[in-house]
């Protein structure tokens, strides 16, 4: 490059690099280019945006084979499936996401009816036993949510994609809510049947410890708000992994600990009638869908938070 041009090659150069991300604004001025580049920035996009980005890349590849995928762009490397198959899959998911609230609106009343009308009354415990259906469902969702935190945390450390850290955060929040419900409903159930609010049963205690650990996780990610973005998610992810790895150890130690001491209450075998099992499965499905819906909503919220921040920043820069 001749010398006299090199003096103002700064802006040009940066534009070049951006155009690799978004080749449509090749001719645009820098300002408008900035505006368009940000929403499609793969690092800051969430579920839906990410899909869009992948789509755009897929389209680009189809339309113009000359555009090589950016090396640093993880998303391009990730989609090895054919674009059409991906589109189909994506569409299915989208349809499902769209109608999930309506499905839930039908399922929740149905499950209420199932639990309170369809399910038979337990002989010994009476109506209190009906807590069981939601209690077990929530416990399952709680554990599952924490597993999602663990998996998303690992994924975040590997890819450093913001999406995973948001997923972990959202899942932890919802998991804590469900586990709180499990603990409370468990106590309500234990009082009339076992004649005690609390007993150091391994399952109970593990849930309690789990609840404490994920409260700590939320406390951590809340406290980290003032820190730098990347270290925030990273530290939270690290604790998410440590906490989950501890779960089996907690369960093991408590189980052994309790067997040394006289066990006050033994839960009987699963003497459930077929009807009870049907209701249980139905409420499991309902609560799982509820979890999924809440997760989506929370993700969207977190994503919007980031976008608002970006907008504010851009406005501030304008000024």
């Amino acid at each position: 490059m001749p010398k006299n041009q090199s003096s103002n090659n700064g802006p040009e150069d940066s534009q070049k690099s951006h155009n690799r991300h978004n080749k449509h604004n090749k001719q645009n001025s820098q300002e408008s280019h900035k505006e368009q580049a940000n929403p499609t920035d793969p690092n800051k996009s969430s579920n839906q945006d990410k899909e869009n980005v992948r789509d755009k890349h897929a389209e680009n590849e189809q339309q113009d084979k000359q555009v090589k995928p950016e090396k640093n762009d993880k998303h391009v490397n990730m989609n090895k499936q054919s674009p059409q198959l991906k589109m189909k899959k994506k569409k299915l998911i989208e349809i499902f996401q769209k109608y999930n609230p309506y499905i839930l609106a039908g399922l929740i009343p149905l499950s209420l009816i199932a639990v309170f009308v369809y399910a038979p009354q337990e002989r010994v415990m009476g109506n209190v036993q009906r807590i069981f259906y939601y209690h077990v469902g929530s416990a399952w969702v709680g554990f599952f949510a924490f597993f999602i935190v663990f998996a998303a945390s690992i994924q975040y450390l590997r890819t450093e994609d913001k999406y995973w850290s948001m997923l972990a955060r959202a899942s932890a929040e919802i998991g804590v809510i469900f586990t709180t419900f499990v603990l409370l409903s468990g106590m309500l159930w234990a009082r009339p049947t076992w004649n005690t609010w609390w007993t150091w049963d391994p399952r109970l205690t593990t849930s309690l410890v789990l609840w404490l650990m994920y409260l700590a996780y939320l406390f951590l990610s809340q406290t980290l708000k003032g820190e730098e973005k990347s270290s925030q998610s990273r530290l939270a992810a690290i604790f998410g992994i440590i906490a989950f790895v501890n779960v089996p150890l907690v369960f093991m130690s408590i189980r052994w600990w309790r067997t040394i001491h006289p066990v006050v209450i033994e839960i009987g075998g699963t003497g459930l009638s077929p009807r009870m099992i049907q209701v249980l499965i139905f409420s499991l499905i309902t609560i799982s869908l509820l979890y999924y819906q809440l997760l989506l909503m929370r993700l969207k919220q977190l994503n919007n938070e980031i976008r608002v921040k970006q907008l504010v920043n851009r406005l501030r820069r304008r000024r």
């Binding site: 406290t223 990347s230 530290l235 992810a237 501890n246 130690s253 851009r314």
Partner: protein
């Protein structure tokens, strides 16, 4: 002057974005051995950040850079960590306040396994005029002396790359001369320095860039370098702008006025300086060539470190921690005093007696120690953040796992020290000597403390990367410790029954071993992520 064609740093399209602002914007540069690059720019232009990026102290958001060069040959990058020897002089001086000057230099030299360390320390400090104060604690040094010692630390390791962030601040004229001399002595090293003193920088450097709002100007961009052409790069072509042009461009870019005459005024110095470089002594040249011959292709990812080297680095780090402890007595004193007070108060509030030893004592015994441990875990990490020493350690060619492992060992030693002293005291206060199976007791203590040290160090490392370490640590650590506490308490309880329940004891011991193993494993896996940046 002739620069070798071997780039020691090649950076391509580096970008760093923080909360929507581009702090570094698409910067590409190559630096060759023996080159001396000056970074100019107004405050907040991104000079410091760029230097930190190049040192590997901060991760880039986009772009990549590597040390050494790619095509074949040998290399003197550290084989295991893939890092060259980097001398970094930042805003922080990277010296431990509670170590003496000599101990500091010894430690940092040992980290790099520098040969002939003692002799070099003597020579360097004498030239810096520090030999009298060498055995004083750094805390007592003046700002200028600290800066001089920091410069010694940089040059001690015979650096291949020198990244100096405003090295002349706080130096008197003599010290500045000392620094310039050192730079000349190490002419085979590639140097980047930032400076606000544009005159000085302009003449000291062989090439320069202006950085403004994260962009750089006037270095040829990476793409323009064709690797086949780079046999010789003449400085003159780079430096072909006259002082007038330079000042015009500087003004255009930064909006700050610069008087061209100012630059011309000191041309005498620069002429001298240029002569000096061209008359580079043959030994120096040879040394430079020797260095470059050793460069193999290496990329940044850290490969496994050989066991021996790992152990050596571990030893150096633990030794440093012990020295710090020996000099201040902070941690051991605190932990001991707290445990003594805690034990006394516990024994007063739970009236001791033989009948309730089994129920109460194991819990009290362990909680006294765990609370004491909680008190110092953070501090053991915060000592390293003083003057950002941790960064200097992470710059060294050691694995990040080593850093955390050394901390675990040190904390383990402190906890054992505590256990040895506090156990008899608690036994006496509570009249609770183990009734049966006493020989097993030390083993239990050893194992539990290992788990405590491993988990505690990991979470303390996590907590101290935030601003609320004191609040966070107990909240994070205690839930995670629950299995260990249960096992420790239940295991200890067994010793207070007239007959030892061997099966239970074995179970708990095995369980604690499992817990320790899991903790250490997690430590090792997560350490590189934890100590990033």
């Amino acid at each position: 002057m002739v620069i070798s064609k071997k780039p020691v740093i090649s950076a391509k399209n580096l970008s760093l974005i923080r909360s929507g602002f581009k702090i570094i914007d698409d910067v590409s540069l190559k630096l060759y051995a023996g080159e001396r690059l000056a970074l100019f720019g107004p405050n907040g232009a991104g000079k410091t950040t760029l230097l930190r990026l190049l040192a590997g102290l901060q991760e880039t958001d986009r772009g990549e850079f590597k040390y050494g060069y790619q095509d074949g040959g040998n290399n003197n990058l550290d084989k295991d960590s893939g890092k060259p020897r980097i001398g970094f002089l930042g805003h922080d001086i990277y010296l431990y306040n509670d170590l003496t000057g000599r101990e500091n230099l010894n430690f940092f030299g040992d980290l790099y396994n520098a040969p002939g360390l003692q002799g070099r320390i003597e020579r360097l400090t004498e030239r810096a005029g520090l030999s009298l104060e060498l055995d004083e604690k750094v805390r007592t040094y003046s700002r200028g002396m600290q800066q001089k010692l920091a410069i010694c630390r940089c040059f001690l390791i015979k650096p291949e790359i020198l990244l100096l962030d405003e090295p002349f601040t706080g130096l008197d004229s003599q010290a500045s001369k000392f620094l310039i001399e050192l730079l000349d002595d190490n002419s085979s090293a590639a140097v980047i320095f930032s400076s606000h003193d544009i005159e000085l920088g302009y003449h000291l450097a062989s090439s320069w860039v202006i950085i403004c709002r994260g962009r750089i100007l006037d270095r040829k961009q990476e793409d323009d370098y064709d690797s086949s052409q780079i046999d010789q790069i003449s400085r003159d072509s780079q430096n072909s702008w006259s002082s007038r042009e330079f000042s015009r461009h500087y003004q255009k870019l930064t909006g700050q006025k610069l008087d061209a005459h100012q630059l011309d005024g000191k041309n005498r110095g620069s002429a001298d300086y240029n002569n000096k470089i061209t008359e580079k002594s043959p030994e120096n040249k040879k040394e430079g060539e020797k260095n470059q011959k050793k460069m193999p292709k290496t990329s940044r990812p850290i490969s496994r470190m050989s066991g021996l080297k790992f152990a050596r680095a571990l030893l150096v780090l633990v030794k440093k921690d012990l020295l710090l402890e020996f000099n201040t007595g902070q941690l051991s004193g605190t932990v001991l005093l707290f445990a003594l007070i805690g034990g006394t108060i516990f024994s007063m509030s739970f009236l001791p007696g033989q009948d309730n030893v089994q129920t109460l004592f194991p819990g009290i015994y362990w909680f006294t120690q765990i609370f004491a441990a909680l008190l110092i875990l953070n501090r053991s990490f915060l000592r390293d953040t003083e003057n950002s020493c941790q960064e200097a350690i992470l710059l060294a060619p050691i694995l990040r796992e080593t850093f955390l492992s050394a901390r675990i060992i040190f904390n383990y030693l402190i906890f054992l020290f505590l256990a040895v002293i506090i156990s008899p005291v608690l036994f006496i206060l509570f009249e609770a000597f183990p009734v049966s199976g006493a020989p097993w007791f030390p083993l239990l203590v050893l194992l539990v403390n290992l788990g405590l040290a491993a988990n505690g160090s990991l979470l303390a490392a996590l907590a101290t990367s935030t601003r609320f370490s004191d609040l966070l640590l107990p909240v994070l650590l205690l839930p995670v410790l629950i299995p260990l506490v249960l096992a420790a308490v239940e295991g200890t309880r067994l010793f207070y029954y007239p007959e030892l329940d061997q099966a239970s004891l074995y179970f708990w011991l095995l369980f604690i071993i499992l817990y320790d193993a899991v903790c250490l494993l997690i430590n090792f896996i997560l350490a590189p992520y934890l100590l990033k940046e």
